[in-house]
């Protein structure tokens, strides 16, 4: 029988939505135990939240000063110490999980399955390769712990359920002091967070400059949307890389995705193909983005986008 440990992602005060998505994926393993590990300083509120995720059977809270910031080198030996009772260890395929899970796996001498998008059996998983140009089905060794990251765009988060018991754990493992947190600078500002936003508006190289990109930002604000960008726009220096949508950036699944002046390189399409509705505005009718768009408009964006902004403002859409 499967016993799954999910590593919680949080920002020190709140549980990240990624955790509910990992729990949803873990439920497909039909586990007899589904435990969330919360490593934090304090963390009582985070643990209480995790305990109420539907399907969770228990929470392990490791409250320690050294868990105030998520350093993979410090967290990995602790999670490795918790993993002994489990058949599966899962975490989000966010920068937090991508950084941490392989370090845990190597400490335990096991490999990892990255970006699980479907659970096909207790040891059979599907994941994307080649920037989403193919999906591969992989069997893990049933004799070993399975370590996996969960592709967040493929799962909706679970809702609330009855509160599961929370157990405090004190871990006696040697922790390194060779890695030190210096600073964190948040990106987004007032706009919704790209990974979890219901609506996302992205711009591409066709915006021409950082100034030109303001047009996309304005459309995002009118729609109450998060702002994104293609790799080409990031490479051209129009916006910061934390806005990059695609295989090498963020993989998202909003209800509405609006691509402005984005041609639609395969690596970008990989990042958006789980969006419910994709809208493309591009002046090149041959642009690959139109192959995946639900609604396409062939037009000069510098004319169409201001028009769209006024049309939306006139209706007061939010």
């Amino acid at each position: 029988m499967n016993r799954v440990l999910v590593v919680a992602e949080h920002d020190g005060t709140r549980l990240a939505p990624a955790t509910a998505k990992c729990v949803r994926c873990a439920l497909d393993l039909e586990p007899e135990a589904l435990v969330v590990a919360v490593l934090a300083r304090g963390g009582a509120e985070i643990a209480a939240r995790a305990a109420r995720l539907a399907g969770v059977t228990g929470v392990l809270l490791v409250d320690a000063p050294h868990n105030a910031v998520p350093l993979a080198a410090v967290l990995a030996p602790q999670v490795a110490g918790l993993a002994a009772d489990f058949t599966h260890l899962m975490g989000p395929s966010s920068t937090f999980g991508k950084d941490l899970l392989p370090r845990i796996a190597a400490l335990l001498g096991v490999g990892q399955i990255s970006d699980v998008l479907a659970v096909l059996g207790s040891h059979r998983f599907r994941r994307p390769v080649h920037a989403g140009n193919a999906l591969v089905t992989v069997d893990a060794d049933p004799q070993r712990l399975v370590v996996a990251t969960v592709r967040l765009a493929s799962y909706a988060g679970v809702g609330e359920g009855p509160a599961a018991p929370i157990e405090q754990r004190t871990l006696d493992v040697a922790l390194p002091d060779h890695t030190r947190f210096v600073a964190r600078r948040e990106g987004g500002g007032a706009r919704p967070e790209l990974m979890t936003a219901r609506r996302v508006v992205s711009g591409g190289r066709a915006l021409g400059s950082a100034d030109g990109f303001q047009l996309v930002a304005e459309l995002a604000d009118v729609l109450g949307a998060a702002l994104g960008a293609s790799r080409a726009a990031v490479d051209s220096g129009f916006v910061a890389n934390d806005l990059q949508v695609g295989q090498t950036g963020k993989i998202i699944a909003p209800e509405l995705y609006v691509a402005v002046g984005i041609s639609g390189a395969i690596q970008h399409l990989t990042g958006i193909k789980d969006a419910r509705t994709i809208v493309a505005i591009n002046k090149d009718p041959e642009a690959p983005i139109f192959e995946v768009a639900d609604v396409g408009l062939v037009a000069d964006l510098f004319k169409a986008v201001p028009e769209l902004i006024s049309a939306l403002r006139a209706r007061g859409t939010r």
């Binding site: 350093l71 993979a72 080198a73 990995a76 920068t95 950084d99 392989p102 370090r103 845990i104 796996a105 190597a106 400490l107 096991v110 490999g111 990892q112 970006d115 059979r124 390769v129 080649h130 920037a131 989403g132 140009n133 193919a134 999906l135 591969v136 089905t137 992989v138 893990a140 070993r144 390194p176 060779h178 890695t179 030190r180 947190f181 600073a183 964190r184 600078r185 948040e186 990106g187 967070e193 990974m195 609506r199 910061a240 890389n241 934390d242 193909k273 509705t277 809208v279 139109f290 192959e291 768009a293 639900d294 609604v295 396409g296 408009l297 062939v298 037009a299 169409a304 049309a311 939306l312």
Partner: protein
């Protein structure tokens, strides 16, 4: 002074579209243009700049793969690496095995820093750097967009979902690169010729005491599902109407 080690992987060129073989046994890569994995090229550029700034004496390039991967090692030597090591192995090693092989070379070479790409654009695992750091018991700073070395410390800015994070790590350490760390230099013809005479050593997995054992079985490759065709509209008014019809503006 110590060296900086860079791991590179031979992959199908970033700009080439790869398709699944009709029998689902893998990807059809025969005859396609092969290159250094783009993130690894950024790793090499970062190492070259650190050498040029005087932080390290040499740049040692390592790959794990069959003889044809020496083409990419030669490209890396032409970019400016001082010498190269090929660990002879099949193409499809699992990341943990690659990390074990790199770890064995690290123990021989004792580099002051290892720089790797954050992921290879073929398998998209994104594991090797973190696994190497774990096996080595040293710091990791993944997804780097800025890297500075002062004495026995590295300060690394990381691209994380929430924005940017800065870490300070003791050396030696493992750094994996994100896109914006740098723009790799172009190779000039004279360097390409010079690269032919730079040292390239070959080691076997057996010499390094690493087994190529597999923990996973790849069953089949399938093409991703295709989205149903959408509608083309002719004006902004029609666009707004189409969005209304789908209920996405409410």
């Amino acid at each position: 002074m110590q060296s900086v080690m860079v791991g590179i992987k031979r992959v199908v060129d970033y700009n080439v579209r790869v398709r699944v073989k009709p029998d689902g046994s893998g990807m059809a890569t025969e005859g396609l243009k092969m290159s250094i994995n783009p993130f690894d090229e950024i790793a090499l550029e970062a190492a070259l700049r650190l050498r040029e700034s005087g932080a390290f004496a040499h740049v040692v390039l390592v790959t794990v793969g069959p003889p044809e991967t020496e083409q990419q090692l030669r490209s890396g030597l032409a970019m400016g690496a001082d010498r190269a090591i090929r660990i002879d192995a099949p193409f499809d090693l699992e990341p943990l095995t690659v990390a074990r092989a790199l770890h064995a070379v690290v123990l021989r070479e004792q580099p002051g820093l290892v720089v790797l790409g954050k992921q290879a654009v073929d398998d998209d695992h994104g594991q090797t750097g973190q696994m190497l750091a774990a096996l080595w018991g040293r710091p990791q700073a993944t997804f780097a967009s800025a890297l500075a070395v002062t004495g026995a410390l590295a300060t690394v800015t990381r691209e994380i979902d929430a924005g940017l994070e800065t870490l300070e790590v003791d050396l030696p350490a493992v750094v994996t690169t994100d896109l914006r760390l740098n723009q790799p230099r172009y190779v000039k013809l004279p360097e390409l010729l010079k690269a032919k005479s730079k040292p390239l050593a070959v080691l076997s997995l057996a010499e390094l005491g690493v087994e190529a054992a597999r923990q996973f079985t790849v069953r089949e490759f399938t093409a991703p599902p295709v989205r149903a065709a959408g509608v083309q509209v002719n004006s902004v008014a029609e666009l707004v109407a189409a969005l209304d019809a789908r209920g996405v503006l409410s």
